[in-house]
Symmetry: none
Subunit: 205 residues, 4 copies
Amino acid sequence: MIETRRDRRIAARQAQILDAAAHVFSQKGYQNATTKEIAEVADVSEGTLYNYFANKRDLLIGVARAYADEIMADMAIIQPEGYEDYLAQFMANRFRRGRERRLFMVFLYESRWNEDVRRYYVEEAMHHIIAQTEQNIRDLIAQGTLRDVDPTIAARTMSATIMGFAALFELGITVNHSSPELLGTQVTDILWNGLRNQEENGRES
Amino acid sequence: MIETRRDRRIAARQAQILDAAAHVFSQKGYQNATTKEIAEVADVSEGTLYNYFANKRDLLIGVARAYADEIMADMAIIQPEGYEDYLAQFMANRFRRGRERRLFMVFLYESRWNEDVRRYYVEEAMHHIIAQTEQNIRDLIAQGTLRDVDPTIAARTMSATIMGFAALFELGITVNHSSPELLGTQVTDILWNGLRNQEENGRES
Amino acid sequence: MIETRRDRRIAARQAQILDAAAHVFSQKGYQNATTKEIAEVADVSEGTLYNYFANKRDLLIGVARAYADEIMADMAIIQPEGYEDYLAQFMANRFRRGRERRLFMVFLYESRWNEDVRRYYVEEAMHHIIAQTEQNIRDLIAQGTLRDVDPTIAARTMSATIMGFAALFELGITVNHSSPELLGTQVTDILWNGLRNQEENGRES
Amino acid sequence: MIETRRDRRIAARQAQILDAAAHVFSQKGYQNATTKEIAEVADVSEGTLYNYFANKRDLLIGVARAYADEIMADMAIIQPEGYEDYLAQFMANRFRRGRERRLFMVFLYESRWNEDVRRYYVEEAMHHIIAQTEQNIRDLIAQGTLRDVDPTIAARTMSATIMGFAALFELGITVNHSSPELLGTQVTDILWNGLRNQEENGRES
DNA sequence: AATGAATGAGACTTCATTCAT
DNA sequence: TATGAATGAAGTCTCATTCAT
């Protein structure tokens, strides 16, 4: 309690550096980003960077962690009307974030060479989401909402589609007229339609 | 014509270097790959590299070009029974290649910072495929096979799904029991089912 | 006089810092020691270090000075029975201190690059001891106890032997079964025997 | 055989760099020496240094190795008349080298923090010499030439004396009028006299 | 008087590219 | 044409020292 003000200053400085790092990484990627540039964007000296993070890699991990937390937080807020709506909103979130930050592919790529990014981003966030999706699909199949597909493959197909769109966005391959929300709805429509049980219920999602 | 033999030798040497580069890039990524290692794998000196390619970036472009050609060639060979089968075979191809070479994400990533990779890989190969897919979907909608979805979005959804699976594979998130062929069939089943006109034809895919 | 208490506090703080510095220097050497670590061991902030010492070099000088004083104080306390015993006790002191602190070589080494260490440690302490030794030898030769060797060389030989043992100790080359006292006696035996006048007196040490 | 000329060039370049490193280390010590300065003295670029040595530490090891080899080579050449003469010549060698190169204390000191220097310099060279000296002393005691002292301590005393003189020289504490040869003879005289069996043989050494 | 975050100079090291052989 | 040693720019990181609080 006594240290609150200083604690706040430290936290603020950390955030300021992480923001700068996220910005530079999203523009240049990890390898092309220089600590010099990150320091400049954060408006601190290069030395200060190393008072808050052990090394450049740690900066990437910090950004990845924040990014993963953001995904989780986004998911927690969703208040869906049924699972189809949940999917649409989740996609809309991802598409919106992708447009804002363009960091997805940096993590995806670096996680191949960087074990910590892999741990914090891929394993914690992605595995978690895929596993959850798979369980949801199992449940929906059991209750007859979805048809009898392989839940493992279905869950991965959904994740793959979302990841693929993120990649397309970062490549500048956008769907010009579509808002994240509309796109989320339309992509969900295709996937959901591909999965739901047609025999039992007319189209109602 | 007089130079045919010499040309062949040059082409062979180029291919030998490109193979080495593809190998090293797929293992290490572009930035972590060194010209030294590429030269060693190609069994030539570093100097020789620069007799055949202007610089390291040119090596990447060369590999990207070859990779894009490979995709096109794979596509040309497919002899499908209907479009759904075409899709399944195309996916199986991509999945199989992804397992073999793990170069997909290197191009995807580097194309964000490297304009030439972007041109040769993203624009030439991917745009071409997406445009073709979009046209096919338009046709299939017109003839009543597919329901009335937005062809732009449908085409991007398909591409996104395939790219997403490629990314998942490179991350080591695999579907253990599935061969590329089986996986292609199952993913196609979901997407095709999501797109086809349900009113006209009973479930048959 | 009015400031006595304050002076004492300052002196105590100085001593506390010097102790920490001596400890860290003896573990890491001068260059590898960081002001950060010294401050931590002294349980003060880095800033405080600089309120008591102008810079890192000054810390080393302070430690060297204290070390030189320690040698002098050790010498003053000795109550020998004859010069041979004086030698044995002096050696025992040096050997014991060497085991305790392992600072000898740090000063010896740094004095080559650091003029102040040189002045306080080498010139003040070592020159003084060598000069005194030389004078003692002259006297002992004059009175017939020692044979007619070159006093300059004899004095340097003694000093060299003691320094050499200090170095051996810091390298971990020890004489396992020997206490400092026993070792002092035995080494003195060799040197004294090498110097004393054999003709005049039978072996009596 | 075919590569002889190139091999020679490489060896020459290595020697040139090692010479430069030895020079700078002897002037500045290891830590204060910069790769920049070594490169300048060697008249190559800093990058070239790293074509021949993995890192700065490797340069030190290289120099230490060469230095240890030099000691051994010096020893092998000696053609003594009796062990006392051997000692005198060995000392003269060490004293002469010390004056030339002033590297002794650099190795001695760095070996405390650098395991490889320790291995190549201290363990290989010094342990070897001490062990050999100890054995010689045992033999000389057995044959009655030396009196019945502890061979372990006697051997260490000799080594310590030589090391101590090396240190004194590097500190600038010299015996002005003495050549290495004369000094070797005189120091040997003291030590030998301190060790030899007085009863059996009159003073003759 | 004490603190410790900020600084920035400068160290070591890597590696794409060149060029004499 | 092939070689690979040499280059040097540029990057990451350390740490003694300062100074606002």
